[in-house]
Amino acid sequence: MDLYDIIFYLFALLTLVSAYFVVTNKNIVHSAFFLLFTLFGIAGLYVLLGADFLAVVQIMVYVGGILILLLFGVMITNKITNVSIKTGTIHIIPAAIVIGLFAGALASIMVKTQWQTESAKIPFTTSYALGKSLITEYVLIFEILGILLLIALIGAASIARREEKE
């Protein structure tokens, strides 16, 4: 039980507890703030896996962009900040059966499968290797992502814009 394991369990606990509070909290602004901790916990897990670039991207894009957008969206609909969300479930028995089956299937898959593994390496900075593969192997995906971002920009701004009445 070395330091690595302790920090892993710490981040995993942070992520799971925050995710639980995101789902069950009755005030939606509190849920958004617990989502912040969940995303931060996931960034910590990325670091422990050796994906340093991905952890920084997670914090920059998810926490610094998507969460802000989420909070703005919540604040725009200002009538719902004071309304508590009904989190009661209606069909408890069927839901419990399906979730139990799903969780059991997932658990047995995660534990019993022989995953393709590589020998563990000392973690190194991944940005350079990522850049190389973006330019050589995955250049088509790189360019299509540019067009995807353009389409997302045009589409989202078109829907969110409030038109001037002529």
């Binding site: 995953w115 250049v139 353009l150 589409g155």
Partner: protein
């Protein structure tokens, strides 16, 4: 980066490059023109036509673009340029040209004509996503292209923002689509964990190895089918279809029902044929790697889809919803053709798609013309319309008879080839179910004709006159429906030459 292979790859993706250039041109022209945007639709049609010509000219060449993975003997890329991809690209481009022509005359889009430049830019994004999706053989490229296609269609479904129904349709579509894309990504990640690669060809060779856990692969393939089934509206992933088809602008409904489904089916054909087929027998039947029982899954999906689509359409009074359920039923027939797991099945799918595109586009166009003039899509408002607008009435007769699958229309030929493939595979029970479903569909299609011809027009129904341009477009769809019912050999020959998939 090896320069010759790069040049080769760029030459193979020329249609997509041209499409991207036209997308940029459409966006820039929309920027420059402030109020008069009439030239943009014609520019869009020009772009689609030029891309279509390039696709036709390169239909016989095949090869891999963007080599990413290689075994000791062969090299595989992430983008496969082959005749099957070329067929679907041509189908998608011609459907897109028709949809742009529909949009020029649609009154829903005329109300928001200041934003119509964005409409065409989003359509270009959707077409680009579909073109890459039908040729992609790497799981990551499949996912990125699927997201490009889905994102544009979410926005297009709620584009007009004029009624609550539009925004509701876009919201339902988006939530459902994002969840199914997420499930598909989870399935892709499990497949990557099992095999260590994302290229479908390499997955094929690795699945034949000894240590693949069957249960894990079952789980992963079911999750991937959640994503694919969403696009093709298979039951139980079909719940978005009636609401979205009813709420979206009718040109987008027509587009989603044909083009988006075609892209989803191309994806399914590729995943099965490249990922799970070990060799193709001389009688045309595929021999699958025995890790996953595709036949059982596809037969189950097709029976559920056909039955639910046809039975639900019986109760619908809104024509758009009825056509939505009927397109679910047609997806069921198509999955049945694919469930035969043979080259005859793929030929049947392709032939059925061409005719289904013609019939469905025509039916939606007539509903659009009537909705533009009378403002209603309810079946009771079609009373007596057959006598006041004889041109529309006769066209609708031909199209609805073709949708049922009666001779001498193209729909009959499509169903004929489908049943030939199914009986060739000795799946008799499912064939009987399909015939019963066709009989059920007779009722709800002919109910429209009964309202149009056998019910007296009430005082409030207006007569609908189609303008000259609309008549020409409708003739372009109706005449081939009749013609291909009688003289269909060139279509059959064309599709038979298009079914070769690269490397199988």
């Amino acid at each position: 980066m090896d320069l010759t292979s790069l040049n080769n790859s760029l030459r193979l993706i020329t249609p997509e490059i041209i499409l991207s250039i036209f997308l940029v041109i459409v966006v820039v022209v929309d920027l420059i023109l402030k109020s008069n945007k009439k030239v943009i639709p014609y520019l869009a049609v020009l772009g689609f036509a030029v891309t279509g010509i390039v696709v036709i000219s390169s239909l016989d060449s095949s090869g891999f673009a963007f080599i990413t993975a290689s075994t000791s003997s062969k090299q595989f890329g992430m983008f496969a340029h082959d005749p099957l991809g070329g067929f679907f690209k041509l189908l998608i481009l011609s459907v897109s040209i028709f949809i742009v022509l529909f949009t020029i005359t649609s009154s829903e889009i005329k109300q928001i004509h200041l934003r119509s430049g964005e409409f065409y830019a989003l359509m270009y994004g959707m077409v680009l996503g579909m073109m890459v999706l039908v040729s992609a053989v790497d799981l990551i490229l499949i996912y990125v292209a699927l997201e490009l296609l889905s994102l544009s269609s979410y926005v297009l479904a709620g584009f007009t923002k004029l009624r609550d129904r539009n925004s509701e349709a876009a919201l339902k579509y988006m939530i459902y689509g994002v969840v199914s894309s997420g499930l598909m990504l989870f399935g892709i990640s499990i497949v990557y964990g099992l095999t260590g690669t994302t290229n479908l060809y390499l997955i094929n060779s690795l699945l034949q190895g000894p240590q693949i856990n069957i249960l894990t692969l079952l789980f992963a393939v079911l999750l991937i089918m959640a994503g694919v089934g969403f696009k093709i509206s298979a039951v139980p992933f079909h719940f978005w279809t009636p609401d979205v088809y009813e709420g979206a602008p009718i040109t987008i409904t027509a587009y989603l029902s044909v083009a988006s489904k075609a892209a989803g089916f191309a994806l399914l054909i590729r995943v099965i044929q490249i990922g799970f087929v070990s060799f193709v027998g001389s009688d045309g039947f595929w021999n699958l790697i025995p890790v996953f029982d595709w036949k059982a899954l596809l037969v189950l999906l097709s029976v559920l889809t056909m039955t639910l689509g046809n039975l639900s359409a019986l109760w619908q009074n809104n024509l758009k919803r009825m056509l939505a359920y009927s397109s679910i039923a047609h997806a069921g027939y198509l999955i049945l053709a694919l469930a035969t797991l043979s080259t005859q099945g793929v030929v049947a799918v392709l032939i059925y798609f061409i005719f289904y595109a013609l019939m469905n586009l025509g039916a939606f166009y007539i509903v659009m013309i009537i909705a533009d003039r009378t403002g209603s899509e309810d079946i009771d408002d079609y009373d007596g319309l057959g006598y006041t607008s004889s041109f529309l009435g006769v066209s609708l007769i031909i199209l609805l008879v073709s949708l049922v699958g009666l001779p001498p229309t193209a729909g009959f030929i499509g169903k004929l080839y489908l049943f030939i493939a199914v009986l060739d595979a000795e799946m008799y029970v499912v064939a009987v179910i399909a015939v019963l479903n066709t009989v059920v569909s007779l009722y709800y299609y002919l109910r429209v004709l009964k309202h149009m011809y056998l019910t007296k027009a009430s005082d409030s129904t207006q007569s609908v006159r189609a303008s000259g341009g609309e008549k020409i477009i409708l003739l372009l769809l109706v005449v081939p429906t009749l013609l291909f019912g009688i003289y269909f050999q060139p279509i059959v020959d064309f599709t038979k030459s298009c079914i070769t998939v690269l490397g199988v």
